[in-house]
């Protein structure tokens, strides 16, 4: 662990990414305290107002303060990122552990399912599912999570295949530990490092997907602000109010960039061995 912190601290970009991630979490948590105005209160006297002292990032078509809307929007992005990655990781760990530990037909079936899901263009699948469900923050979290577990499954399966032949596992089996106990106490903890890295890198991917859906108008619905739907409303006014389109996009870029730097930093610091497995996982989508 000490080695990890030393290696991590040396990577200045990763530390900077981590700091920004922390800052974003704090901003999202404190949004109600920090927001200069009510994000839902319209102001007919100041519609599409340019950035000013009172409204640092300007106002939108209804005169609502863009900075406040973005602060509240960051809560949506964060929540969707964490929850959907949590769902994906839970599914991935269970399926990957099953496939890797059991092997045989179970493994073959699960891996065919992974192949199948990887062939599906995910965005089309998301749209099709959302057409049948009512879009809300919950459905968005669920569908992003349910269509994003394949990478973790492959990672966990690979770790299990390697770990289940190791001596400490064979030994615990030899002294009569039950299958579940072997998996839970002995293999899984040792397989978690790459999963944590994959999860850190999964959050920004989920944030990008959510903002893309919201941008199309199929994500979290107005009046709730998200970075994606502020952009969606802003695009109709790009000729007169660039700030409506510019700042939310910049926020997404900075967020995604920071998470990526943090994730790659953790990966490199954890273990040189992981560079290999992570790269393969990334290449598998």
């Amino acid at each position: 662990m000490k080695h990890f912190w030393q290696a991590f601290a040396k990577n200045r970009l990763a530390v900077a990414g981590g700091a920004v991630v922390l800052l974003l979490v704090v901003l999202a948590l404190l949004a109600p305290l920090l927001a200069p105005a009510d994000p839902h209160r319209p102001d007919v006297h100041n519609m599409l107002g340019a950035p000013s002292a009172k409204h640092p990032l300007g106002t939108d078509q209804l005169g609502r303060d863009v900075l406040s809307r973005m602060l509240y929007g960051s809560r949506v992005s964060l929540a969707v990122g964490f929850v959907s990655v949590g769902i994906a990781a839970a599914i991935g760990i269970v399926l990957g552990a099953l496939a890797g530990y059991r092997g045989g037909l179970v493994d073959a079936t699960i891996m065919r399912l992974v192949d199948l899901m990887l062939v599906f263009p995910r965005f089309f699948l998301l749209l099709a599912v959302l057409a049948f469900l009512r879009p809300s923050i919950w459905t968005i979290m669920a569908v992003i999570g349910l269509t994003g577990w394949m990478g973790v499954t492959r990672l966990v399966r690979g770790e299990f295949l390697a770990l289940k032949e190791r001596e400490f596992v064979l030994w615990s089996q030899a002294v009569g530990a039950a299958g579940f106990r072997v998996v839970w106490r002995h293999i899984l903890p040792n397989a978690m490092a790459p999963v944590l890295v994959a999860m850190t890198l999964g959050v920004p991917a989920a944030i990008l997907t959510e903002s893309g859906l919201s941008f199309l108008g199929l994500g979290v619905q107005p009046p709730f602000a998200t970075w994606g739907n502020i952009l969606n409303e802003g695009k109709d006014a790009i000729e007169i109010a660039w700030w409506l389109s510019f700042y939310p996009g910049l926020a997404i870029l900075v967020t995604v960039l920071s998470y990526n730097l943090l994730g790659e930093g953790i990966r490199d610091a954890l273990d040189p061995r992981l560079r290999q497995s992570r790269r393969l996982a990334a290449s598998r989508g």
């Binding site: 062939v119 995910r122 965005f123 879009p135 199309l216 996009g249 870029l253 990526n260 290449s283």
Partner: protein, 330 residues
């Protein structure tokens, strides 16, 4: 080689059945409870009617196995039903007129990405830690993090609104019919510049990164050392021996990133108002035009599967080891 291709083809069959199965499962998401009329800007006025139509089309009151079998039979006959839209045209016609646009965009995009990513990746790998390498690394991280719809909006503001150099919507200008042949071509191409620029941006970042990584690994191998020891020029060593080996993983990655690229056309087509599959999909979702949604889903998935298959076969062509045995790309 033929055997190899045939084997891949047979292995793709379960995936094909899986695709229909997942699509079938999606139909069954159709809400049993009434769709909420206040569901934001979703058009739900026709949902009761739509559900009735769905029930008739797919026979939702029959046993599941019977439903699936019937649905599979219809798909096999390429019968996707008729659109719920007022024009009521067959789904296949609607998709058919949009498919070429999306295919053309994606193929152009792919060619540009590959043509640029390989030299960029090679240059930054052979000059690791040089200024060029550092600049491309920054570009890669920015490219990964930039939302494509935001990039599209910024480019529209810059080139479309401020400078007025490029058109920002559709594939043709309003006065297209009155242009001469060459002007028409030019007009068409100028409409493609921004969409293709946006669509290639993120992909280019990823691919040049993979190419760099792959090249870095290859040039550390023993056979590269021995090629140098033989006295071959650096150009031959890198351009021939290293390049061929470094491109192998790229073929796999190409196949695997196809779903993402095709999915990306949804956003690009929506923003630039390009009449392709992606735009059709978004319109259909807003109008709850279920037959069009299902048709789109199945056809896009099958196209991706076929493209993956081609990538697999291409991998067999470039890497003879794969053909002889083992389980393809694993």
């Amino acid at each position: 080689m033929l055997w190899y291709a045939l084997r891949r083809l047979v292995l793709a069959l379960p995936l094909l059945i899986g695709i229909t199965f997942i699509s079938f499962a999606v139909i069954h998401l159709a809400p049993g409870e009434p769709v909420d009329l206040q569901a934001g800007n979703m058009n739900a006025k026709s949902s009761a009617q739509a559900r009735q139509l769905l029930r008739e089309m797919y026979g939702l009151d029959q046993p599941i196995a019977v439903q699936y079998w019937n649905w599979l039979g219809r798909i096999a006959r390429l019968d996707f039903g008729r659109s719920f839209a007022p024009d009521g045209r067959p789904v296949l016609h609607k998709i058919g007129e949009r498919l070429p646009v999306t295919l053309m965009l994606n193929i152009a995009e792919l060619l540009i990405i590959v043509a640029l990513a390989i030299p960029i990746g090679m240059a930054s790998a052979t000059r690791q830690y040089s200024l060029f390498d550092k600049v491309t690394t920054v570009f890669v991280f920015i490219g990964f993090a930039t939302p494509d719809f935001w990039l599209a909006l910024l480019l529209m503001i810059l080139f479309g609104v401020e400078l007025g150099w490029l058109p920002i919507s559709g594939l043709r200008s309003l006065n297209w019919e009155y242009m001469s042949g060459w002007r028409q071509q030019g007009d068409f191409l100028s409409h493609l510049v921004l969409p293709i620029l946006v669509a290639t941006f993120g992909g280019l970042a990823g691919f040049s990164r993979y190419m760099r990584q792959s090249m870095l690994e290859v040039i550390r191998q023993d056979y590269i050392q021995s090629a140098r020891a033989k006295g071959l020029s650096e150009r031959v060593v890198i351009g021939k021996h290293a390049l061929r080996n470094a491109m192998l993983p790229l073929v796999t990655i190409l196949g695997l990133s196809l779903p993402g690229l095709i999915g990306g056309s949804v956003i690009v087509e929506s923003i630039f108002a390009i009449p392709g599959m992606g735009q059709l999909m978004v319109q259909a979702v807003f109008e709850r035009d279920y037959p069009v949604i299902m048709g789109n889903l199945v056809i896009v998935a099958v196209i991706t599967l076929v493209a993956n298959l081609l990538a697999d076969i291409a991998y067999g062509v470039v890497d003879p080891r794969i053909r002889l045995g083992g389980r393809g790309r694993r």
